[in-house]
Symmetry: C2
Subunit: 77 residues, 2 copies
Protein backbone atom coordinates (compact mmCIF):
# COMPACT_ATOMS: atom_id res chain seq x y z
CA UNK A 1 0.00 0.00 0.00
CA UNK A 2 1.67 3.24 -1.12
CA UNK A 3 0.94 5.21 2.01
CA UNK A 4 3.59 7.84 1.36
CA UNK A 5 1.61 9.11 -1.63
CA UNK A 6 -1.50 9.81 0.44
CA UNK A 7 -0.40 12.27 3.12
CA UNK A 8 -3.88 13.59 3.94
CA UNK A 9 -5.42 10.24 4.63
CA UNK A 10 -6.41 9.49 8.20
CA UNK A 11 -5.14 5.92 8.21
CA UNK A 12 -1.44 5.22 8.44
CA UNK A 13 -1.61 1.52 9.12
CA UNK A 14 -4.39 -0.74 7.96
CA UNK A 15 -5.37 -3.83 9.90
CA UNK A 16 -6.69 -6.96 8.28
CA UNK A 17 -7.64 -8.48 11.62
CA UNK A 18 -11.31 -9.06 12.18
CA UNK A 19 -13.10 -7.15 14.91
CA UNK A 20 -15.63 -8.40 17.41
CA UNK A 21 -18.76 -6.34 16.75
CA UNK A 22 -19.53 -6.37 20.48
CA UNK A 23 -16.33 -4.50 21.26
CA UNK A 24 -17.04 -1.87 18.64
CA UNK A 25 -18.04 1.62 19.74
CA UNK A 26 -18.55 2.90 16.22
CA UNK A 27 -17.48 2.41 12.65
CA UNK A 28 -16.71 5.30 10.30
CA UNK A 29 -16.68 5.01 6.54
CA UNK A 30 -14.98 7.89 4.73
CA UNK A 31 -15.33 7.82 0.95
CA UNK A 32 -12.41 8.58 -1.35
CA UNK A 33 -11.96 12.31 -1.92
CA UNK A 34 -9.50 14.82 -3.26
CA UNK A 35 -7.62 14.78 0.01
CA UNK A 36 -7.42 10.99 0.20
CA UNK A 37 -7.76 8.78 -2.87
CA UNK A 38 -8.98 5.72 -1.02
CA UNK A 39 -11.93 4.78 1.17
CA UNK A 40 -11.06 4.75 4.82
CA UNK A 41 -12.79 2.59 7.38
CA UNK A 42 -12.12 3.51 10.96
CA UNK A 43 -13.28 1.35 13.84
CA UNK A 44 -13.39 2.90 17.32
CA UNK A 45 -13.14 0.34 20.11
CA UNK A 46 -15.33 0.51 23.23
CA UNK A 47 -12.66 -0.45 25.73
CA UNK A 48 -10.13 2.36 25.32
CA UNK A 49 -11.46 4.41 22.42
CA UNK A 50 -8.64 3.00 20.30
CA UNK A 51 -9.10 3.60 16.58
CA UNK A 52 -8.23 0.97 14.03
CA UNK A 53 -8.18 1.32 10.30
CA UNK A 54 -9.68 -1.60 8.44
CA UNK A 55 -9.07 -2.74 4.92
CA UNK A 56 -12.13 -1.80 2.83
CA UNK A 57 -11.25 -4.50 0.31
CA UNK A 58 -11.37 -7.28 2.87
CA UNK A 59 -14.56 -9.02 3.86
CA UNK A 60 -14.20 -7.60 7.36
CA UNK A 61 -16.28 -4.53 6.68
CA UNK A 62 -19.11 -6.40 4.99
CA UNK A 63 -19.18 -8.99 7.75
CA UNK A 64 -19.04 -6.29 10.36
CA UNK A 65 -22.00 -4.39 8.95
CA UNK A 66 -23.88 -7.68 8.74
CA UNK A 67 -22.91 -8.61 12.31
CA UNK A 68 -23.94 -5.22 13.66
CA UNK A 69 -27.37 -5.59 12.09
CA UNK A 70 -27.79 -9.08 13.52
CA UNK A 71 -26.72 -7.87 16.91
CA UNK A 72 -29.46 -5.29 16.71
CA UNK A 73 -32.19 -7.79 15.94
CA UNK A 74 -31.05 -10.12 18.75
CA UNK A 75 -31.46 -7.32 21.28
CA UNK A 76 -34.89 -6.36 20.02
CA UNK A 77 -37.79 -7.81 22.02
CA UNK B 1 -40.50 3.88 15.66
CA UNK B 2 -40.78 4.35 19.43
CA UNK B 3 -38.29 7.17 19.69
CA UNK B 4 -39.53 8.38 23.02
CA UNK B 5 -38.31 5.20 24.68
CA UNK B 6 -34.73 5.70 23.52
CA UNK B 7 -33.65 9.04 24.94
CA UNK B 8 -29.89 8.43 24.63
CA UNK B 9 -29.93 7.62 20.95
CA UNK B 10 -28.31 10.13 18.64
CA UNK B 11 -30.98 9.95 15.96
CA UNK B 12 -34.32 11.67 16.45
CA UNK B 13 -35.61 11.41 12.91
CA UNK B 14 -34.70 8.66 10.49
CA UNK B 15 -34.64 9.27 6.75
CA UNK B 16 -35.47 6.61 4.21
CA UNK B 17 -34.27 8.77 1.34
CA UNK B 18 -31.29 7.50 -0.54
CA UNK B 19 -28.05 9.45 -0.49
CA UNK B 20 -25.70 10.20 -3.34
CA UNK B 21 -22.38 8.66 -2.29
CA UNK B 22 -20.55 11.55 -3.96
CA UNK B 23 -22.12 14.06 -1.62
CA UNK B 24 -21.21 12.03 1.43
CA UNK B 25 -18.45 13.27 3.71
CA UNK B 26 -18.58 10.25 6.00
CA UNK B 27 -20.84 7.52 7.26
CA UNK B 28 -20.95 6.43 10.90
CA UNK B 29 -22.31 3.12 12.07
CA UNK B 30 -23.00 2.92 15.79
CA UNK B 31 -23.97 -0.54 17.05
CA UNK B 32 -26.80 -1.06 19.51
CA UNK B 33 -25.67 -0.57 23.10
CA UNK B 34 -27.03 -0.10 26.60
CA UNK B 35 -27.54 3.59 25.91
CA UNK B 36 -29.37 3.03 22.63
CA UNK B 37 -31.08 -0.25 21.76
CA UNK B 38 -30.84 0.16 18.01
CA UNK B 39 -28.11 0.54 15.43
CA UNK B 40 -27.66 4.11 14.30
CA UNK B 41 -26.38 5.08 10.89
CA UNK B 42 -25.37 8.70 10.58
CA UNK B 43 -24.44 10.23 7.23
CA UNK B 44 -22.53 13.51 7.24
CA UNK B 45 -22.98 15.52 4.05
CA UNK B 46 -20.08 17.27 2.33
CA UNK B 47 -21.94 20.43 1.42
CA UNK B 48 -22.92 21.81 4.79
CA UNK B 49 -21.83 19.12 7.25
CA UNK B 50 -25.49 18.26 7.73
CA UNK B 51 -26.04 14.96 9.53
CA UNK B 52 -28.76 12.58 8.44
CA UNK B 53 -29.85 9.43 10.18
CA UNK B 54 -30.51 6.52 7.87
CA UNK B 55 -32.67 3.50 8.38
CA UNK B 56 -30.36 0.51 9.00
CA UNK B 57 -33.11 -1.86 7.90
CA UNK B 58 -33.43 -0.29 4.50
CA UNK B 59 -31.24 -1.21 1.58
CA UNK B 60 -29.79 2.31 1.61
CA UNK B 61 -26.91 1.41 3.86
CA UNK B 62 -25.90 -1.71 1.96
CA UNK B 63 -26.12 0.10 -1.36
CA UNK B 64 -24.20 3.02 0.06
CA UNK B 65 -21.33 0.86 1.29
CA UNK B 66 -21.30 -0.87 -2.08
CA UNK B 67 -21.36 2.46 -3.95
CA UNK B 68 -18.56 3.90 -1.83
CA UNK B 69 -16.37 0.92 -2.65
CA UNK B 70 -17.12 1.21 -6.34
CA UNK B 71 -16.34 4.92 -6.24
CA UNK B 72 -12.97 4.05 -4.80
CA UNK B 73 -12.07 1.56 -7.52
CA UNK B 74 -13.14 3.99 -10.26
CA UNK B 75 -10.71 6.58 -8.93
CA UNK B 76 -7.86 4.10 -8.74
CA UNK B 77 -5.45 4.22 -11.66
Amino acid sequence: IPLSRTPRCTCIKISDRSINPRSLEKLEVIPASQSCPRVEIIATMKKNGEKRCLNPDSKTIKNLVKAISKERSKRSP
